[in-house]
């Protein structure tokens, strides 16, 4: 099953993200964000590498706002803290709150080639919906 695909937007970057469950949708959205920004966003890591596990609680007014707030937090991890997401899972996901456990490592220009600068996660054309095969979300990123 494909986890995400691009859709056309004139100025920016549109992503349609899928998941069998809501937890999977959010996890796939997180990986898609890093896939857009960095080539080989999930590189194999050696034992004893610089990976770290981060657990975060994120809140939102509703499920769509929750997705934006989750992605905006991850975007800050990269843009502000210089962390690259390697993998992650959603431990708990309601409509207004989630708990995510993420494995990150510091950005290393030797291993991580930056493809696209993503400035922000927008609310424009945002949707999170339950579909027959699970969950689907549409998000537009400002690039």
């Amino acid at each position: 099953m494909k986890t995400y695909e691009l859709f056309d937007h004139t100025a920016d970057l549109g992503l349609e993200i899928y998941g069998r469950t809501k937890k999977e949708l959010f996890a796939n959205a997180a990986l898609a964000l890093f896939d857009m920004m960095i080539q080989d966003a999930r590189p194999p890591t050696k034992r004893g590498g610089r990976e770290r596990v981060k657990t975060r609680t994120v809140q939102g007014a509703d499920v769509a706002d929750l997705l934006v707030n989750f992605l905006r937090e991850l975007l800050y991890w990269f843009n502000g803290l210089g962390w690259v997401l390697n993998r992650g899972s959603i431990l708990m996901c309601g409509n207004k709150k989630l708990v995510a456990q993420c494995v990150v490592e510091p950005y290393n220009p030797k291993r991580h080639m930056v493809k696209t600068e993503i400035k922000a996660v927008t609310y424009h054309g945002l949707s999170v919906q339950k579909i027959k095969s699970g969950w689907k979300a549409r998000v537009i990123f400002d690039v």
């Binding site: 004139t10 920016d12 843009n79 930056v114 600068e117 400035k119 922000a120 609310y123 690039v143």
Partner: protein, 480 residues
Amino acid sequence: MSEIGLEKLDDNRWLLPQTGAMRVPGIIYANEKIRDLLKHDESTRQVANVAHLPGIVNFSLAMPDVHWGYGFPIGGVAAFDLETGVVSPGGVGYDINCGCRLMATRLTFPDIRDRLKELTEALYRRIPSGVGSTGYVKLSGKDQKKVLEEGAAWAVRAGYGTAQDLETTEDGGCIGGADPEKVSARALERGKQQLGTLGSGNHFLEIEAVEEIFDETAARVFGLHKGQIVIMIHTGSRGLGYQICDDYLALMVKHQTETGIALPDRQLACTYLSSGRGQNYLAAMACGANYAWANRQILMHLTREVLEKTLRASPRELGMRLVYDVCHNIAKIEKFSVAGQEKKLCVHRKGATRAYPAGHEAVPACYRSVGQPVLIPGDMGSGSYVLAGQAKAMDETFGSACHGAGRVMSRSQAIRSSRGRSISRELADRGVLVMAGSKGTLGEEMPEAYKNVHDVVDVIHQAGIAKKVAKLKSIACIKG
């Protein structure tokens, strides 16, 4: 959106009638060709959406470079009443005070022809560009506070340029009311490393030559003549600005229901200008704007140094001078005549340039006889334009004009259609030397991805918003 009917007002303007919950009608500046392009994207719907916001005055406007953005269309202009109106961080955009700076020199093309590659490479090495690029200027917390409060003046005091540069910068390179206390720790942290950097995407530094003069008098006043080498810089407030916008957008979305304002698109999240939250945003936005002016001022200084060194020219021989610096993502409190009465309004320019006419007090004294320079970069192959603001801009567009060519192709479309081609070779065939951090950027930014800048500028010229003064041809371009 084809289902939204536009009524033709004249050759350059289309009326978007007031329907549903729109508080005012919309006006889109476009010729038939540009109007046809609008059928393929959502920008007309976005012009209508902006018209839903409380306190909007006269019209929701779009310039001829209008295209589908998020929330506001790119190329959108909207003014709001200070008492009943709102301010919207999305109406300014993430890149607060993204703008253009044009520098003139005493050089002509033959002076640099043989050294062009060397010069471009030297600029590429010296001007930090690309994603996450960091600058030479390392700011202490105390210095950063001053940058946010003082803008370009801080850069001049720190040795990057001269006081004369400030005279020909919009608002002297500083918006008042900036309060660093209203900027988050995250935004401050992101700003520390990025002062004096170009960034990536559509940001650039370009060496251009004056190709054609349309208005001799205005060109003379701006100090431009045919054959002259000029340099254009396009960048903004970098991560600091993005973070300020995002922080306040999140805050406004969180409290949107308290305002009682119904929105057709969450990205238009806003708050009343008279509220504490609205005032805090303006104070933080001013910090972002001032940072961007300091950034472009520093980049100008680095450019000057590179040119002097590479061409072994004295400052006098080079004669580098700031023609003008404009911002095109901003919300500002400005005075306009509304129904015969002078009123202060909050003008949002989201991808739109201020275009004040001759005689306006905010136009630098040296240009007041002809109007404010309006800088319009085109795509990498087509070059740029310099216009001068006209009186009609005050009557019709809250003193605003277009800001560029405007995209027609999505970035992924552009990458698809550039696959298998060498965009840098194609541009070289057109006489433009390009150096970019990534091949992807070149594909995304290929000339066909944009509208024809000549059409866009002609609409503004014919509508009497700003008049054409000079056309600039690209010679070399540095992209992040």
